[in-house]
Symmetry: C2
Subunit: 558 residues, 2 copies
Amino acid sequence: MPTQISTPQPLEPGTLRVIPVGGLGEIGRNMTVYEFDGKLLIVDAGVLFPEEHQPGVDLILPDFGPIRDRLDDVLGVVLTHGHEDHIGAVPYLLKLKADIPLIGSTLTLALVEAKLKEHRIKPYTLVVQEDQTEQLGPFHLEFVAVNHSIPDALAVAITTPAGRVLHTGDFKMDQLPLDDRITDLRAFARLGEQGVDLFLPDSTNADVPGFTAPERDIGPVLENVISRARKKVVVASFSSHVHRVQQVLDAAAATNRKVAFMGRSMIRNMNIAAELGYLRVPDDVLIDTKKAKNVPDDQIVYMSTGSQGEPMAVLARMANLEHQIEIGEGDTVILASSLIPGNENAVYRVIDGLTKLGAKVVHKGNAKVHVSGHASAGELLYCYNILRPRNVLPVHGEHRHLYANADLAIQTGVPPRNVILGQDGIVVDLKDGVASVAGQLDIGYVYVDGSTVGEITDADLKDRRVLAEEGFISIFCAVDFTTGQCVVGPEIQSRGFAEDDSVFDDVRPQIAKAIAEAAANGTRDAHAFSQVVRRTVGRWVNTKHRRRPMIVPVVIEA
Amino acid sequence: MPTQISTPQPLEPGTLRVIPVGGLGEIGRNMTVYEFDGKLLIVDAGVLFPEEHQPGVDLILPDFGPIRDRLDDVLGVVLTHGHEDHIGAVPYLLKLKADIPLIGSTLTLALVEAKLKEHRIKPYTLVVQEDQTEQLGPFHLEFVAVNHSIPDALAVAITTPAGRVLHTGDFKMDQLPLDDRITDLRAFARLGEQGVDLFLPDSTNADVPGFTAPERDIGPVLENVISRARKKVVVASFSSHVHRVQQVLDAAAATNRKVAFMGRSMIRNMNIAAELGYLRVPDDVLIDTKKAKNVPDDQIVYMSTGSQGEPMAVLARMANLEHQIEIGEGDTVILASSLIPGNENAVYRVIDGLTKLGAKVVHKGNAKVHVSGHASAGELLYCYNILRPRNVLPVHGEHRHLYANADLAIQTGVPPRNVILGQDGIVVDLKDGVASVAGQLDIGYVYVDGSTVGEITDADLKDRRVLAEEGFISIFCAVDFTTGQCVVGPEIQSRGFAEDDSVFDDVRPQIAKAIAEAAANGTRDAHAFSQVVRRTVGRWVNTKHRRRPMIVPVVIEA
């Protein structure tokens, strides 16, 4: 499936166009654009977190390219739930046009609004809930309750004259969730009977056989671990996982401990969740972090962020003894969280640090303290059989997840030709129950670094990778272009290459000689002299050191 | 357990000194130095593979510091088995003194000799086998068969007048191994009855509950997957895993397929293993890689390297369509290997690439195609109970593994004060059945980068990390130190910072102005002018871009 960029034909009347601009081929930056009759509807606008081959990048945004010139046509952004990979790009979208309405559940919008406040944006919002319907221009929206690792998640059915689409957002099918709010399979069945022309399901766990275990299984494990703890307990989890925090609060209450929230996002999100009634705080359990130090060690639980080993978060700072809460012999630390691939080294470094300080570290590798938020293969089969969709476009996953999900669809009887495997920027047109690929847009990664958005390019990241692997050598010479004499320099600077600058002593005369020779042979311009310097230093470093640092020559006319 | 460097007292007569210079706090660079009566014995000399916070590093060696000035006292190096983390540093050790004898089993020495040949070193060797005893100066050595993920692994019991030490090397306790060579618990029992004063056990899987599954379980799964494959099959594994390759050969024979070895180390190691009789090649199964292209797709298995996603290995090149064997629709790729933490992103990138090309990818996440080579907690408990060691020094593991192993020892009745938790460079003295910590040496990481050993320092790696995160800006000016006028420059070069050099247009005059002001205020030396440039650019980049690139100012007198 190599990428063949092909510009789609203009949209025919009566046709729905679907363009996932993020989330196909990656877990993150989910964003799908729907177009009908000249109007646009967006579902989700999330961020992707960088991997180690994208050094120094803070966030990766979806490519707004396909809608940048059509912002006035956007009728709204439906946000399925409040996770960063679905809402994190909203501030950057609203910076382009502040009055695009946001549509979502109470908790989702509350979390987005708190985030937008930090960017000084006050959005237009429309609060919706399950079973509610809304008409937005040509788009008829019906919201359906789904269960996920954050409360108040919604799927959305989008109906236009071209047909009906069901977009699940992230979901799983815990049949006994803490808040009794299950994924509404009755609604799925009804939509299926009415006919689902295109189904866009979450693929994250499509390659995991069986069923995701219930969240409820974790409570007794937490209570058991906490009841056996002799001293302080620290629990780390995602700062939006209201139900996980609920179970920690309940376990603390059952074992007569107080709970203090740690970390800015944990405190902010749990305040919102408690205020709105999603988090039920048992009486007298919560105490302020500042007062927690006065509570005896065997009566306190710290609920913190940093479960992914993030270096600046509470947990990593504790592991390095850089936090006011000092971890020591007999303390217990619970990582009630997944281990997102790519974070292993960071997480294990934190676990090792805490272990060395004497703490007992409990994590999903040695106890059942985490379950996933996504439907496994077994659950997805239920969905396909209840919905019987005409066409399927698996979304939200790396390619192996999308393929696994496609395979499940086909196993339940969806004809293989009706299952579309795509990547970011694929253009799918739906009309009269037929979905077809109409083109493939060229979709890029948009890197946020510091206060800059999109200034860092893939070429810069390639430079950074070379710099990281090998360091650099920069050479400056001011040259008399006629004689080829170095009037100033060669001045050599290097970083990440060698401790001792004397390694360059033997190459300086080689550089001067090469420049003089080039001049004798008629070279007269700065660029050509730079190339001479680059080749001379490159050959020297390769022969003598078997290394390939970045070589940055600067030659100017003296 | 913060590191307190403390030089040990000179060694008392009749005392055995044990110094693990690598492998405590990391999985890799295993090396332990034993000293008695002025003579040294080394067990293993392995390498550690770098993590992403050590960019550009090829290998990490043990710190030879503690033995560097005493190479004439080294009586030999016992190599427990032929894995890189136990033998990889041997060439670097022999470069210091080529005639140190190597002691190990037939296969282990054959693998080391092949490696040394590439470094043009012909070593002195002593081949030993299980149940054999040797006297090396004051060290009485007894070798014991152990089972591991490479054949012919040995534990070694080291007896001196100070007592008896059992050093396991890597091992597990598969009770039905392919070669019927089990870990010799009868020998462990006999040693236990004679008295083991200090036990140094492999800790890698000490935090994994239960028992490591038998290697034999994998064969039927491989055969099943291969028999159902419609087209080409590629199996990737470690190039030294003779038994895994054996099972692939057997499965290929059973399904009427030929096998071609791919990758330099795979071909070299399997030739050695077959020649020495460790690999039994079924008749007419093996064919030359060059001829494999003429075999129909449904009759071939490629056995390759690259199971950890290494970018230059066969599998990654296949995933990028950069290899002569083209992966396509209907092919099957089996990763019959572990997923070493830290390699997840690389491995998943390969799996994703292969999936996009149409291959079915089978790995330990979706089928039982790998078992570990190390004893889990359940097996270690057997060892402790059979040996009943007086003192325990867990080795070969990150800190959480060492702690878990210590915990197992204590559970079986070893007094906690007799269980030593240490890190690289800990000095343990043994006399009259009492083991005590005598000091802590300062042990560093020795980085191999290209042809250089130890030239790259932690400071260079820190520079590289900054370069990777932010890139650099270098500024050159030739200044008239009296007037403060920039005669040449400011010339600005940057990499990894911004695509467009025009971003620097507004800072150049700021630099010139700052230099002129400094000169007016009496600054007259190059270093002080450089600091002025650094501050000016640093303030500009932080205020305007919220970034922190490395700033490299060069000011010289015009």
